[in-house]
């Protein structure tokens, strides 16, 4: 009896730890669409027959990563772009959810989508870099749009993009830069950056944010801008994230850039309590809370829409990476819904034009490092990096 209680205790603790990890994946495994589940096993055996079947079925397919198509971020943006084009042109479309976040599972689901008749598969998220690298050779007559990554093999020794793949990268540092710049220009001097996992996109957002604040500080002659900086390590809304944000606000932070899916919702909850401000991420989040003053946006749906359109116009830009940045209006701040008091549309247009003309050089993150104080050399801005 006693032993059993101890064993139970251990089991409980382990499950708690595991479920902790699981929840950070936004329930990717638990939400797997049933049709994917049952047919996934079949897919592996029948991939050879894929190309003949593609006359009927769903021509456009989206395979989600850990999130779902209504994650208010990545997958949703991609899904909306694809859906918009498909509905305008009466093309059949469908999304598939992998059972788990592994290369095998992603590849299997891509196979399933192709078996289901897909001619173009949209893969949102850098986790698809390796699956697409494998799929581009395996399914030569199928086209792929890869968001936020470039195909490479498992150990990063080979990067290769075939003509049937269109990788799309965003310069996240640019919207981050605009957000940081706008915040300081609007009169905030104590900022915060609360990121999700330290993945390249999140790191670039953060770096851009800090640099934007620094540039604005220099222009305005402010000597001390402070940025609290942390990666929570997950994309979930937790009391931990809420507490951290609340403690920063408590200590004087005026606005926090909530950069990691649902982490932003925890920041908003803290801000509502303290009467402080939040900057949203990826899409315009102003409708989620009144505390959101602006959002660092990527035009996800536009990029996917353009890609799908190019595919049907027979001008698929495969084989090379398409970069969406200020240059092609692929990023920005939603000025119509922003709640700035001093920062005007004119200011925004000015700084946006400078980004567009390449007058501002932004630091790129170095390999195997996510400590911003190592990479960034800022003059007027102090980063308090919280590990």
């Amino acid at each position: 009896m006693k032993k059993r209680a101890l064993a139970l205790a251990m089991a409980v603790m382990m499950t708690a730890a595991l479920s902790g990890c699981g929840s950070s994946n936004q329930g990717g495994a638990t939400t797997a669409a049933p049709e994917t589940t049952t047919a996934a096993e079949k897919a592996a055996e029948t991939t050879a027959a894929a190309s003949e079947k593609s006359d009927n079925g769903y021509e456009l397919a989206l395979v989600t990563d850990l999130g779902t198509i209504d994650d208010k971020s990545f997958n949703q943006g991609a899904w909306e772009g694809m859906k918009k084009y498909a509905e305008e042109n009466k093309i059949s479309y469908k999304y598939y959810q992998p059972q788990e976040g592994t290369t095998d599972s992603y590849l299997e689901t891509i196979g399933l989508a192709i078996e289901g008749g897909a001619k173009l598969v949209v893969c949102p998220g850098f986790l698809f870099e390796e699956p697409v690298f494998l799929a581009q050779d395996q399914y030569k007559d199928v086209h792929f749009i890869l968001l936020d990554g470039e195909p490479h093999n498992g150990d990063y020794s080979e990067f290769r993009t075939e003509a049937n793949v269109m990788p799309i990268l965003f310069q996240e540092d640019e919207p981050g830069f605009l957000a940081g710049y706008a915040a300081v220009k609007d009169g905030y001097t104590k900022l915060g950056f609360l990121g999700g996992m330290a993945v390249p996109a999140v790191i670039r957002y953060g770096y851009g944010f800090a640099e934007g604040a620094d540039v604005a500080a220099k222009e305005m002659g402010i000597d001390s801008v402070e940025i609290m900086y942390n990666y929570t390590g997950a994309f979930a809304a937790t009391p931990e994230a809420q507490s951290m944000a609340a403690s920063w606000y408590q200590n004087g932070t005026e606005v926090i850039f909530g950069c990691g899916g649902a982490v932003g919702n925890s920041v908003m909850a803290a801000a509502e309590e303290k009467g402080t401000k939040v900057i949203g991420v990826d899409v315009d989040q102003s409708f989620e809370s009144n505390t959101v003053i602006t959002s660092a946006m990527k035009e996800l749906s536009v990029s996917v829409y353009d890609g799908v359109k190019a595919f049907y116009d027979n001008s698929f830009p495969g084989g090379k990476t398409s970069i969406f940045s200020a240059k092609n209006n692929g990023i920005g701040l939603p000025m119509e819904t922003s709640k700035f008091t001093k920062f005007t549309q004119q200011d925004y247009d000015g700084i946006f034009a400078q980004l567009k003309d390449g007058k501002i050089e932004l630091v790129q993150p170095s390999q195997d490092n996510n400590n911003p104080t190592v990479d960034l050399k800022l003059e007027k801005t102090k980063i308090n990096f919280v590990e």
Binding site: A16, T30, A237, P239, S243, S247, N251, A269
Partner: protein, 317 residues
């Protein structure tokens, strides 16, 4: 001083849900049924409660709305726990497996229903429930800011539940019978107690408190509900064991867990703590390490209900 108040208020956000759910688990286990389904029950309770808040937002007084949501969450949790009760009491199934099944079912159900009803899985809500300062009480020096500012009505409900469960468990006939069913159901039965009924009561109380705990967990920490309570149902079971199945100890254990979690996540905003230079991993580890140490020393005379987890069989002696 404001830092102390702040930490304490944050601690409450962690502690109250943990304590409510752990007390729920206590009732179930004291009646002899292991309830590992609390994570799922929390998810269900939070889901229906938040859904109610979502649809009635702005149409009624904030505090009243929250109280109705609390009741809805409790009823949902109770109904949901009936599955577990039926499987483990009537069907005599393995209680861990039945609980796990509910844990897997709950988030899927919440996502599915949310999608059907409103198209997206996140359920948005407006938090209009925070009490900036309780009238009169909030002005008391020291205790005012500590307990009666920036609080939620659910905090006081949680404290009331704690007091009530202590009394129910130790000072009422029901409590005595419940405990006897968890220790030796055959003996209880021979004394004329309906063991099945007591076990149903235990599981249903745990369901009600679990559902409530889910709602209390979500309200202060986010602006939407995403079919997820971040493993707090399991953490509550750890609190239960750490608290040795006794209400007062559970309260202290959840206070300890809450405090450590609050410090671990808030230390970077507190000048004194961040200047110490201790990495946050340390604070995050402490509650678990201490739980392990405590279990090592107390497992020898564990207070776990003796008949817990064993399906009651009338004919056995």
């Amino acid at each position: 001083m404001s830092v102390v108040y702040f930490i304490f208020q944050q601690t409450m956000y962690f502690m109250i849900p943990l304590m409510i759910v752990a007390l729920g688990a206590m009732f179930s286990e004291r009646s002899g049924i292991i309830n590992i389904a609390l994570e799922g029950i929390m998810t269900m309770g939070a889901f229906t409660g938040i859904l109610f808040i979502h649809f009635t937002g702005g149409s009624m007084n904030g505090q009243f709305q929250l109280i109705v949501a609390v009741l809805i969450s409790m009823v949902t949790g109770m109904v949901f726990s009936l599955f577990h009760a039926y499987a483990s009491i009537n069907m005599k199934s393995n209680q861990v497996i039945s609980g796990t099944a509910l844990n897997m079912f709950a988030p899927a159900f919440a996502i599915f229903v949310a999608r059907v009803i409103q198209g997206v899985q996140q359920v948005q809500f407006n938090n209009t429930f925070r009490i900036t300062s309780v009238p009169f009480l909030g002005k008391i020096p020291f205790f005012g800011p500590l307990l009666f500012q920036n609080a939620y009505i659910t905090t006081y409900i949680g404290i009331a539940i704690f007091l009530l469960s202590t009394i129910v468990l130790y000072k009422t006939r029901f409590g005595l019978r419940l405990r006897s069913c968890g220790e030796h159901p055959q003996a209880a039965d021979s004394a004329g107690i309906n063991v099945y009924r007591m076990q149903y009561a235990g599981v249903m109380i745990s369901g009600a408190l679990g559902g409530l705990g889910g709602l209390v967990f979500v309200v202060p920490t986010s602006t939407n509900f995403n079919a997820d309570v971040a493993g707090y149902g399991f953490l509550a079971l750890a609190v239960l064991i750490f608290g040795q199945w006794k209400p007062v100890n559970i309260m202290l254990a959840s206070l300890f867990f809450g405090l450590m979690k609050a410090i671990a996540s808030a230390y970077s905003g507190i000048p004194f703590l961040s200047s110490l230079g201790i990495p946050s991993y340390f604070y995050k580890m402490v509650p678990y390490i201490i739980t392990l140490i405590v279990l090592i020393f107390t497992s020898r005379n564990s207070q776990a209900p003796k008949a817990e987890g064993i399906p009651y069989d009338k004919g056995q002696r």
